[in-house]
Symmetry: C2
Subunit: 198 residues, 2 copies
């Protein structure tokens, strides 16, 4: 198929993006070709800017544009509560719930011995250093509820509990709006075990 080289190059780059197949890449490429230059350039510039300006927060290892991320720098956040997550992208969904007013700590992964990811590959020593130097009441370990995430949570809990800090984990249970009939056994089992008086 004959296509101008610069269009082919754009298609190739677009197809590398997650969730973008050949058809979507084509739709996006034609959109970029048809849209006014200023708008297409704004997208290109936004990509440049993000790669130039975004680094990791010196405290929690979330994405940041300065030494500290906006959450760590905020005076209205409760700095005595640290929520530990695997990846920066896990912070956004928790923020969206609006129920957590503390700060975060990003491990940048989860323990996975088979993949060669041990404690030294994660930001665990950095977390322990924070617990030693800051006043922390509670660590919420919000790693994913899968094998690696659970193992990481158990490992961290063993390390942190002796420091006299409360260690918690978000409840497992039935998703709101879900159907008992279709819940898997493990989730339903956890929901039964964690039952609350009403």
């Amino acid at each position: 198929m004959q296509s101008a080289p610069s269009i082919q190059k754009l298609l190739d780059e677009l197809e590398r993006l997650p969730g973008v197949g050949p058809k979507s890449a084509q739709r996006i490429a034609y959109y970029i070709l048809n849209t006014e230059s200023s708008q297409a350039i704004r997208l290109a510039d936004a990509i440049h800017e993000v790669k130039e300006q975004v680094r990791f927060c010196g405290t929690c290892f979330n994405y940041a544009e300065s030494e500290l991320c906006e959450i760590c720098a905020s005076p209205i956040r409760v700095h005595e509560q640290i929520c530990v997550v695997s990846e920066p992208k896990d912070i956004m969904p928790i923020e969206r719930t609006g129920v957590f007013g503390g700060v975060y700590h990003v491990l940048h992964g989860a323990l996975s011995p088979l993949d060669g990811i041990g404690p030294d590959e994660l930001k665990i020593s950095e977390l322990l250093r924070r617990l030693g130097s800051e006043e922390v009441d509670e660590v919420v370990i919000a790693t994913n509820p899968n094998v690696e995430g659970e193992a990481t949570a158990a490992y961290l809990a063993r390390l942190i509990r002796p420091l006299g800090v409360k260690v918690t984990r978000p409840a497992s249970g039935l998703p709101v709006g879900g159907d008992l009939e279709y819940a898997d056994e493990v989730t339903l089992g956890r929901a039964m075990e964690g039952r609350l008086e009403i």
Copy 2:
């Protein structure tokens, strides 16, 4: 939700793309954040390049990087056959079939009086000029098989037939692999009318 300004800007720009909602924008933004700089910059540069280098072919009004597009400039294409399409993006699917070896002409729209799109808004006079100056045996009118596309095809056929040029249109009929039971009446009617001896 607190997010670094440059990340928010990237999210905003990504969400403008067709078929990219908030969730895909987030997935793509995190991919751009995590990927090595050189690869992200390649995407940004590809966008710049396409906006700087791509213009319309002086003959057929397809996208081109020089005075002529690659198809018009190709000596192995049959320049006596012109396939008329509404948009540049209609060329790629026809090329992919591999059955058309001629050249193209892009109208940049279809007749739609209600939207104020008459013959003067389309590259019709440019097509007639080509028919006057080039040796053309056949014009295949491959506008979309919808109201505007059919009207445009009928209008063009009336203009071109008197010039002694054969005017054709791709067959309407049952999609290959389709199911007779689920074909709409118009399509099935066309397929019956256009039946071929086997």
